[in-house]
Symmetry: C2
């Protein structure tokens, strides 16, 4: 943990006055001043105790025999980049490995919402990621998950969190606020628990994250704002972000692996001239492949600039604006005295090549390569053995029994849409053989199962799904199954479905693909069944192997395993599966798999 400003102040004052040498002096940078909005050439920076001590035209007075000197060579020095809202679990790596992956991209601060691990492990899971975050050499602050389970009554997650948990978490040192309040229908209805969670966060003086995933900007939107959430990253259109900013919320503009919400909304600044201080950039969800190949917040800032935003304004949206939003302006987000000495050196303010990254006064990466040691965090056994099936599954567990005497049925089918989170509620006519409803591989109707995996009840919920295009006998199982993270199994062959499910029980979770009895790909995610403890590069490679295997089985959807992971997301329409049954997410209630039968 870095010492507080006031603990360091005597030293900082002495360094600024030249009474004692700095730990590091960077000569000759172009100071990207996010406070004034200027680029100030020929600036020196002195750093001591992990904080900026002096920023001005000449820091020679702060140089002593042991001071590390860095020649800025006239490069731009910008504050380390901040991700204002994100889920580490989406990268399928630990917080530590996520940090290792993003530091070379210039990220030095992350505001993470460990919503996924909370659904599996509850408060102990949040605490684990909180503690891991606190020990890192960059700044990782935690938002307390607000909605676990996401859809009470429609699913049973591995844990359930409420106002008392929120109150408890607000006292943890690294908790920065409440994670996205997804239960907007509850908030708007005046749900006491939801308002109490918001209240506990406000009472602690912390930031309430919003998540108003609706197009309705009428009264429910206004009521949601009146309840207290202070930001929202669910806006996708210009109208969405105008409404949010006008009502005093920060518009968080999102560019994740699968989210592209910056371009439409940033027009509020580039075309309508709105005050840019209310705009904050974030990623929300980044896959390991994105981190390895494309970048992180540097990718978002670069994209925002490409939309016509002035570079300094885009950089403010990933530094000062973020810090101000979380009431951390005096702690990070700018290169000014007292703040944590987090900065990026770059030779181009539009393309943003990240040449050097310094965090808390320590050189972390150089030309895209991490050069600092970061100690791995050792997750305990309790976080590693979370796939509890209760028994060995067999092919027969996936049988969908037809009504007595039926030889044809009409069944509800979850219709997957490429590159979209919503599904469609389809229906299909399916045959019956020996009393069992049959899949229709030619018609792209295969089976989906939700296997309870938190309490070892052995429960299996079966239904049908369409849209993956599997044309071989195969099955893919995953313990990443938003948001309650049971195990979902999709397959054209029940034997493969049983093999895949049992395999994940054996390895403690992940994603696996079996075809004709053979394991074609496996991404091991032993931590809570959600995260690997390997490097992001390795996870990205394994994930590529999985995509290749899916393709070999006939599925060519973009990011197909992500589609897979959303099939149990019972807060987004139209049809989903949960441990309770097939869920109609237009009516927010369980429904039957079979509609009609013909004898």
């Amino acid at each position: 943990m870095i010492k507080s400003w006031f603990e360091c102040a005597p030293r900082l004052v002495d360094v600024a006055m030249g009474r004692t040498p700095a730990d590091m002096v960077i000569h000759n940078v172009r100071w990207v001043n996010v406070h004034s909005g200027e680029i100030i050439p020929r600036t020196d920076i002195a750093i001591a105790a992990g904080r900026f001590a002096f920023v001005g035209p000449n820091a020679d007075h702060a140089v002593g025999p042991a001071t590390r000197l860095i020649d800025g060579e006239g490069r731009y020095a910008l504050p380390g980049l901040c991700d204002a809202h994100m889920h580490v679990e989406s990268g399928m790596v630990t917080v530590t490995e996520f940090a290792r992956a993003v530091i070379p991209h210039g990220t030095t601060s992350m505001f993470i919402d460990p919503h996924e691990i909370a659904n599996v492990l509850g408060m102990p899971g949040v605490k684990l990621m909180h503690d891991e975050a606190a020990g890192l050499p960059i700044n990782v602050f935690v938002q307390m998950p607000s909605c676990v389970p996401s859809a009470p009554g429609l699913e049973n997650a591995g844990a359930s969190l409420g106002p008392a948990d929120v109150r408890e978490a607000m006292a943890w040192p690294n908790i920065v606020g409440l994670g996205e309040m997804m239960n907007f229908p509850g908030v708007v209805a005046g749900n006491g628990d939801m308002l109490a969670e918001i209240g506990a966060t406000q009472a602690a003086g912390k930031t309430v994250g919003g998540h108003y995933a609706s197009k309705d900007l009428g009264l429910p939107f206004h009521a949601y704002v009146a309840a207290g959430p202070s930001d929202d990253h669910e806006g996708t259109s210009l109208a969405d972000c105008l409404a949010r900013v006008r009502q005093g919320m920060r518009a968080m503009l999102r560019l994740g692996s699968a989210w592209y919400d910056v371009a439409a909304q940033i027009k509020a600044v580039t075309e309508l001239g709105l005050d840019s201080r209310n705009f904050v950039l974030c990623t929300d969800d980044s896959h390991s492949g994105t981190l390895v190949n494309d970048g992180h917040m540097n990718r978002v800032v670069r994209h925002a600039i490409a939309q016509g935003l002035k570079p300094i304004t885009a950089i403010q949206m990933a530094t000062l604006n973020t810090a101000q939003h979380f009431n951390m302006e005096r702690e990070l987000g700018s290169i000014t005295p007292g703040r944590r000495a987090d900065l990026v050196l770059t030779s181009d303010l539009t393309e943003l090549p990240v040449e050097t990254v310094i965090a808390r006064g320590r050189v972390m990466s150089s030309n895209g390569k991490l050069i600092a040691d970061i100690t791995p965090y050792d997750y305990p056994a309790s976080a590693r053995n979370t796939v509890r099936l209760g028994r060995k599954l067999s092919a027969a567990d996936f049988d969908i029994v037809a009504p007595e005497g039926a030889n044809q049925v009409t069944a509800r089918v979850i219709g997957v849409l490429e590159n979209q989170a919503p599904t469609r509620a389809l229906q299909a006519s399916l045959g019956v053989s020996k009393g069992i409803v049959q899949m229709d591989r030619a018609g792209d109707v295969c089976q989906i199962a939700l296997v309870e995996r938190h309490r070892g009840t052995g429960k299996v919920v079966n239904a049908f799904v369409s849209g993956f295009g599997y044309d071989k006998p195969c099955a893919i199982a995953s313990t990443v199954a938003h948001d309650s993270h049971h195990m979902t199994v999709v397959g054209t062959d029940k034997g493969d479905m049983a093999l895949a499910a049992n395999r994940l029980g054996e390895v403690g979770g992940g994603v696996v693909l079996f075809s004709e009895g053979h394991e074609l790909a496996l991404v091991r995610l032993p931590i809570a069944g959600l995260m690997s403890d390997q490097r992001a590069e390795i996870v990205a490679e394994k994930a590529n192997g999985l995509i290749a295997a899916m393709l070999a089985c006939g599925c060519d959807l973009n990011n197909a395993y992500m589609q897979h992971s959303l099939l149990a997301l019972v807060v987004i329409p139209e049809l989903r599966i949960s441990d309770i049954g097939l869920i109609d997410v237009l009516k927010f209630q369980a429904t039957e798999v079979l509609v009609t039968t013909t004898t």
Copy 2:
């Protein structure tokens, strides 16, 4: 006290949804949206529980039988104005009377530093104003005074405050931070007490007010910033404000009764295009006459607009920017849901006529007239009997004895400069009669005395002063004597000096003028010898009477009694008087009144 947002949230949500009626609905305003920077026409506002519940195009759904309706008639609705740094005592009235005076000018939030009463009464004085502030129907937050006495070693104030007091005060509900850290030489030298006060404030998550009253923008300035103050209102030039903003401080631009620091500094925005979010407007010191005749923050905003600033930008500097600086953005400073329902209706966004003022959902004033009842605050006897002379003074107490046998002396003389706070260190040749040094009325050299009044020691320090122009036998005495607030007496006649001093002892403080044995004017300031409990109008009228009496005695300086009140301000060069003696404020040490003598 207003209930917190989260206590009101269930009601606010219900009002926004139309499930329960609002307390007040204002139809048809032009919404001055300080978040987005827009003016949004045809907006309705619904208010409940003293907070904004809904702001949008139509609030009819929030109207019930008991809802008070106000027709906005298309006027501009702007957030209630905030004064980011000010001393109530400068108005010579209580916090309550100050509020009564400024509410009709549109002020609904004040951040006050009770530095003066702290010098007289110490922590109990700060607590009194804190408690008075907390009970008012507008928002008055208190900054804990940081430097009492202002010049340790050069004066003894009525009390002395230190880090332990600051730590204690940070737990009081209405304390918003540390008041201006005036001891910048101490900070820069690494003084442990000063850094500890800053540290206690930062540790409480509150705002450290700055006061770097120096032209030196070199290393001492940088060291001051590194110590932690987060704003500064002592800048006067463009260079001053550029330096502050670049280093991550808020530039507080001041327009007080005698401060004119906006015009030069605002060019940073109007001409250089700096990010305006770092600029905050304040008054620092307003006399009651200014409040009665000219206005308060409306005067400052109007002035800023007259300098070429866009109205919305100027308004942000007195609303949202201030709120953000004190981490109160979610509580006040904008017309958006959840915030305290403080607003001003005006028909012109440049001249800013203040037509209606609403605070916490209550109509406070209409067309410049206060229409709400405000309960006076009853100061206890301990705050009222603070002028302790210890004995009755006589003319002989003001004798300055010449050295044995001297018939001519050269004396140091405090030279008063019209409209300037600094004095000059003059010298004058003065005659001696019967062993006593004589004044030189023709040469405008009269006497000044500092009468100890906090501990009743009976001590009188005598010296000479020039520049007031008194041409009659007279004396003016004042218990407003920055910053330690002993009693200063300036006179051409020692009998009148004794009468004036004794009179203030009798009435518990104020400012009084005697001439030839008669009392020509008296401003009673019974609370700590600093404040009246009368209306600002009455105090202003009494002060005018005093100015007229001074003029009748030959003194035509602008704001002459203010000059009088600064003669003991031992932190500003060049020559001052304190209870310790005559103070050379270039050398920061006591000096002798008499330089040489001729026999």
